[in-house]
Symmetry: none
Subunit: 188 residues, 4 copies
DNA sequence: AATGAATGAGATTTCATTCAT
DNA sequence: AATGAATGAAATCTCATTCAT
């Protein structure tokens, strides 16, 4: 989706990258903004489908559901790494409507994560007076895998990134009485 | 440095914002890239001076030094909010050299934070097998104050952002035996 | 290639003259300098092909070969009059490399003329202790047809210019014993 | 008057070269065109005074007067080498009036040379049916000392340039019966 | 459906000219 | 008289978009 090196994305570069002509792109997208919106939407859609699915598949344990949700976020980001960076980089070119829409979608996207964190608190296995912050931070750390990939790739791969970040984040919120129980997630 | 609303930064817009003519900017900067580099460097320089100073002023307690460092990062970011966003948004236009230089500076910039975290671990008051990750996450959360300001400003101001994030982050790393001691930082 | 009257050549003017858009020019040339270089190179290439051909076609007589060479130079200049003037006028905008390249090509371009003059001297039909100067002067007089066209066109057309200049130049170098033989070239 | 290397002449470069401020230049000249016009006029004025003086000083012999005139032209050009090149290079920026004026002055400037050539023909010591061409060519060869200095300086200094060109030119026009008499000018 | 040459509005950059000091 | 910072119109160059093939 973007060129390494010269990271500007002109339509001609985009077309060359995709191996099609510029004209063809305009058959499917009305404008460059439409493409950006479509790309971003695609990522957000991936969140919308894969995160709830992962939560569902994780069973009933709230902590494991949080872990599953975070892992799913990170995996989606990893699959759309360039698109995720694009979101931060190109959103200036969107008009106010486009940007508002994306912000709204991003907040909606974090909803399942907020929900499982709240579940955990309600169940007494997590402790926090600001579940929204906990959830949003996890989302940020997922984004960071794309944004700061040049840094993290020096020492981690996707799986070790997920477990390291998860261990750190959970240690802050898993109730002391339950920490033993999740030793596998909380790490050494 | 940039307009809210139409977030593209043309030289015309830049000049208008600064209240000078386009030509004058070129008396002080060789190119648009030079301006971007200067802006980013200015932020990184602010980190380089203010973070160590804040750490110094915090006394000897490692946890309070970490807290001071994180607070200083966030305050610098807050003072250069638009510039910080610019770093994520415009770095594509820099050439490879410029980007490499900025990445290097960013890593150097996080060094003091890494140092105080390590101090805390050595002193036995913090517990972590990945102090670099702890430090880098704190840096990310400082950046997030700029990047996701549209979100956080709904519920927090700078001070409450700092204390909320700090409480969360420290709960993950302060040794259980010392948590009582830092109740003021760890929150509720 | 340029407008009589307003002789400045902006890209806009250039595009208008060529009947295409500015953008299209940049599809074929990387910069304005590239265009200038291409135009100049085209003239020098015309010299490189047409002058040797004219010499060849002139037979074995060294004096007639000199005459043919000079005529060919003048005809190429005449066909590229504006481009030739451009060389003198715009070469300032070229970088050092470009200018050096053009100077080298110009000297190479005069080589065939130098060769036929030297032939004539060796054959004893021309007399000069500085054949390079004789050759370079002839090249200059060909250029002059473009540079000083506003002057020469008052009294001469291309053919009369060629024969008048040739008569003058040859009188200085054809050996006295052979002057009779070339009365048709040396004039009244 | 011009920078070697980057040969474009901006007003700021001009001022720096002259060691004064841009503002000061505008106290003495109304516009950049005025400067160019003044520079060119200065050269043409130098011709107007020094060439007739040199002719006068050369005595009565028409051939020696031609030689003196050509030498004077070349010396003036040599003293104003950059200005002479400028004439060819920058005249595009002048308006139609300015260019017309310069062309008129150039023709007037060649008048003394034309006069001495005609004298020589009338006296029977020179032979030519086109004295204007003979005179104008000599003027061109004087200009060439500036225009093609990069070439000629490889093998000649001002004096050897003058005598070599003069020898060549005179051989074409001095009547055969008088060539012995001017052996010192006509060369080996 | 697909192409990519062509467009031209808009971006960056330069520089002759002005003017407060 | 002299400066040089400041201006802004005009130049060069880019690239999203169109359209003939």
């Amino acid at each position: 989706m973007e060129r390494e090196g010269s990271e500007a994305v002109s339509m001609q570069a985009l077309a060359a990258e995709a191996g099609v002509s510029v004209g063809l792109i305009y058959r499917y997208f009305g404008s460059k903004d439409d493409i950006l919106l479509a790309v971003i939407t695609q990522v957000l859609d991936a969140f919308a489908t894969q995160v709830p699915a992962a939560i569902e598949a994780a069973g009933d344990d709230p902590v494991r559901r949080v872990a599953a949700a975070f892992g799913a976020y990170c995996r989606v980001i990893d699959e759309h790494r360039h698109a995720a960076v694009l979101t931060y980089r190109e959103s200036k070119s969107l008009d106010a409507d486009g940007r508002a829409r994306i912000k709204r979608l991003e907040v909606e996207t974090s909803q399942p994560l907020r929900a499982v964190v709240s579940e955990g608190i309600d169940a007494g296995v997590l402790v926090s007076d600001d579940p929204d912050l906990v959830a949003y931070n996890l989302l940020l750390l997922a984004h960071a895998w794309a944004l700061k990939h040049w840094y993290f790739e020096q020492t981690k791969n996707l799986d070790s990134y997920i477990s390291a970040q998860l261990a750190l984040a959970l240690r802050a919120v898993v109730a002391p009485a339950h920490q033993q129980e999740y030793a596998d997630l909380l790490g050494g």
